[in-house]
Symmetry: C2
């Protein structure tokens, strides 16, 4: 007994037919609708049902097999693979070639860079910063340069407690820990909570900088396939029961790299699972402020009634990366371990910067600047979406309506690593999906960040990408 | 067949006789002169040889037993213990009581604090700093606030290459990595080189912040007993053969907490051992600049012909802790792992601070400031030694002639934890030896840092410590 597929092949859809079949079945598997062990319809029957050539179905099944979603039993048919060990991400270090690409690396003046999710330096509030800095140096003097308490400068922790309230997060200053950027926050939480051999869940695709941290502590990483409204719930619960993770690292709003936002239902269900199966969630709210609609994105932490969520918020995106400051909201049970981990990591964050940020928040400059930044980034976002719709023909895109990144599905046959290399020669830099996920999803997607480029660069750069895609396509059909 | 002890009990020595016997035999064991399995002279013979009461020898042997240096075989005698598992430091986290003491914690205005090894804030070069900062903000503007390359701001790396030359260390800018303070340097090197289950050697006593890092990575920590001119060489080689460490964390100049400096012979021998037994040495040169004699302390790195030394130098002590900057000199073989570890740790250090430090070094201000600081600290050092000699009667001290700390042996029977609590009540804070070492050495020593206190505070504070010691002594004799 196979199962009936209720979907239609669209003749005018630009995805080739076999890719439509592949995508549809893939989503069913990842959503949990097709559990491990399910038998797929035979090639003969499916091709008849869908009115396509048998070769089309064969190609679709081949792709599913390559994704390790299904397997063939000789003489019996094709089955959904029970998913376990093969989910382990065993290569989570940075995929950048040494020397070629690292944070802070500049490709030069004449390069259009769609890889940086830091804001355009033209948007940095340098003047405000200098004013606040002068005030701090004058008023605080030498105290600003002593060691500061590892948990953070108390007036800043209080200011962040109030700031969190504006995002509907209720917490006390005791819950708040200052760290030197979100990456350090992840590292410190890993030190406080992750032991050798633990299973850690991450979204797939995800930010490789987090995976690197967990792997460095000897954890086993399980990638939970991400759909456009969050992980498939059945699949997620199945994986949780199987692996019993200690931690789930998630970016529920405007996820990196996909831009996807979890539905509120999925946010709440994830919290239920965390309680039921006793794991913590590390919420990296790296861009939650940046909603370009009237509706704000709600942090998972808002719904966290059982203290399951460790919350990280960076100021690299809404202020300046060079500030190197972020904060954690830490549930009581792991506070003292977190404090110890911070000391072992770098003793304390820069007191001078903490005092500057504190004044910056208290004087209302951060709020004003965030508003300004959102307006500026919304313009770039809209232009970017338009440029992609116009120039990347046959590609597709789920519009995130917020954040810093767009996750573009490439037209059939065009692979992200090839496109990356081609564009680089034309002085346009993109992030190939393989940086975030090594299966077919990564291979057929690119991440385009729009926050570090001007509107002119957006149109020029995306048209270059579009031309390269057309070139690759025409080479494929020859 | 025992062995003959060639030493004399000094009647006018303020240490009790049994403590003299204990100290002498302890040194012989730790120096390697008495290997594991050696039989000590019988109590009867030794008391006769030394012309002391048998009870005196019994007490000395009891202390050695408590230190786990010797053991008694029933009906046979006392033997030197083959030293292995019991050397593992299994409790390397911070011994501070939560909330009571952490980096940056201030005990209040009216407290004399001998625990901080950061310089007196009155010595911070705030005016110079502000001048350089203004220059950077004006000239570099927004670039100072972007992500910087993880390895560090190149002009700073070049400046540090030249700076290192002034300490006779030859290296290229490629060898230099900028990190956010020495603690982070230790953490990054641990990430790059330490695996779960590795044996790591540290000096005993040592800086607990380093032990915490290694333990957090699942390493087993072996404390190598430190003598006033470095580890006992025979003992060290024996331990190396037994445990095959991957890394030795060492502070060969003005060690923390003891202030001891390795002899040049021991520095060179340590390097030979590292080559012979294939381990790396992490040299934490936290205070090497601060020699108060005409002779500069030579970093181990100067003698490192086989690239066995990873060198860490902080600017917290000679500049300001609030700068949060240090640098590593990294042998080629572990460079790419170190770069990956830095990214996973916090992506990059503050670009603004790196630029400020860079200008500060290039303009010769650091050199000038270090000279000034040395002069100021030398005064405090000399006053501190005098105050201790005067007020801590029956204590003893090996004068380090440099650095930031004095390691004071307390008079017989006075324990460091008790003294710590007593002094705290009198608003004088000291570091009890048990923070650094949990055997009798820790119990009978205190660390006094003199860099964060004025000359007046030194005399006032040390006299309080002296009075408390006298009180404890008189309680003991009642």
């Amino acid at each position: 007994m196979g199962l009936k597929f209720e979907f239609e092949i669209k003749e005018n859809n630009e995805d080739a037919k076999y890719f439509q079949i592949y995508s549809h079945i893939r989503d069913l598997i990842l959503n949990g609708a097709l559990p491990g062990g399910s038998k797929l319809p035979s090639i003969r029957i499916l091709s008849k049902d869908l009115n396509v050539n048998t070769l089309t179905v064969i190609n679709a099944y081949k792709m599913l097999e390559k994704d390790k979603l299904v397997y063939k039993k000789e003489g019996s048919g094709t089955y959904v693979l029970p998913r376990d060990k093969e989910l382990i991400i065993d290569d989570g270090m940075f995929y950048f070639e040494p020397g070629e690409r690292e944070f802070g690396y500049s490709y030069g003046e004449d390069v259009i860079d769609f890889t940086s999710s830091a804001p355009d330096p033209g948007l940095f509030p340098i003047k405000d910063f200098k004013k606040v800095m002068d005030k701090v140096l004058e008023e605080d003097g030498a105290s600003a340069f002593m060691y500061h308490t590892s948990t953070g400068y108390l007036p800043l922790r209080k200011a962040l407690r109030d700031y969190s309230k504006s995002y509907e997060i209720e917490c006390s200053e005791e819950d708040i820990y200052i760290v030197s950027g979100a990456q350090q926050g992840i590292d410190i939480i890993a030190k406080a909570t992750v032991k050798n051999g633990d299973y850690i869940f991450v979204e797939s695709p995800t930010y490789s900088g987090a995976v690197a941290v967990f792997k460095s502590r000897g954890a086993k990483i399980i990638g939970v396939p991400l759909l456009s409204d969050g992980p498939g719930l059945k699949e997620l619960e199945r994986l949780v029961r199987q692996f019993r993770p200690s931690l789930f690292y998630a970016m529920p709003n405007f996820q990196n790299p996909t831009g996807y936002t979890y539905s509120e239902r999925k946010k709440k269900y994830l919290l239920l699972l965390a309680k039921k199966y006793d794991f913590m969630i590390l919420e990296d709210d790296y861009a939650g402020d940046l909603s370009y609609t009237k509706k704000d994105a709600m942090p998972l932490k808002v719904f966290d009634l059982d203290n399951r969520v460790i919350y990280i918020k960076s100021f690299s995106k809404v202020f300046m990366p060079g500030l190197r400051l972020a904060y954690l909201i830490v549930p009581e049970g792991i506070r003292s371990k977190t404090a110890d981990a911070k000391i072992a990591t770098d003793i304390s964050s820069s007191g001078l910067m903490q005092r500057v940020l504190c004044n910056y928040i208290k004087d209302g400059i951060l709020e004003r600047h965030t508003k300004y930044l959102k307006k500026e980034l919304a313009i770039r976002y809209l232009e970017m979406v338009r440029a992609i719709r116009k120039h990347i023909r046959g590609g597709s895109l789920i519009e995130p309506k917020g954040g810093l990144n767009l996750w573009v599905k490439l037209p059939m046959g065009v692979t992200s690593d090839k496109l990356y290399k081609r564009c680089l020669q034309k002085k346009v830099v993109i992030s190939p999906g393989v940086f975030y996920n090594r299966d077919d999803m990564g291979l057929f997607h690119i991440r385009l960040s729009f926050s570090g480029v001007s509107v002119e660069e957006i149109w020029e750069g995306v048209s270059v990408i579009g031309l390269e895609i057309e070139d690759i396509k025409s080479e494929l059909s020859n």
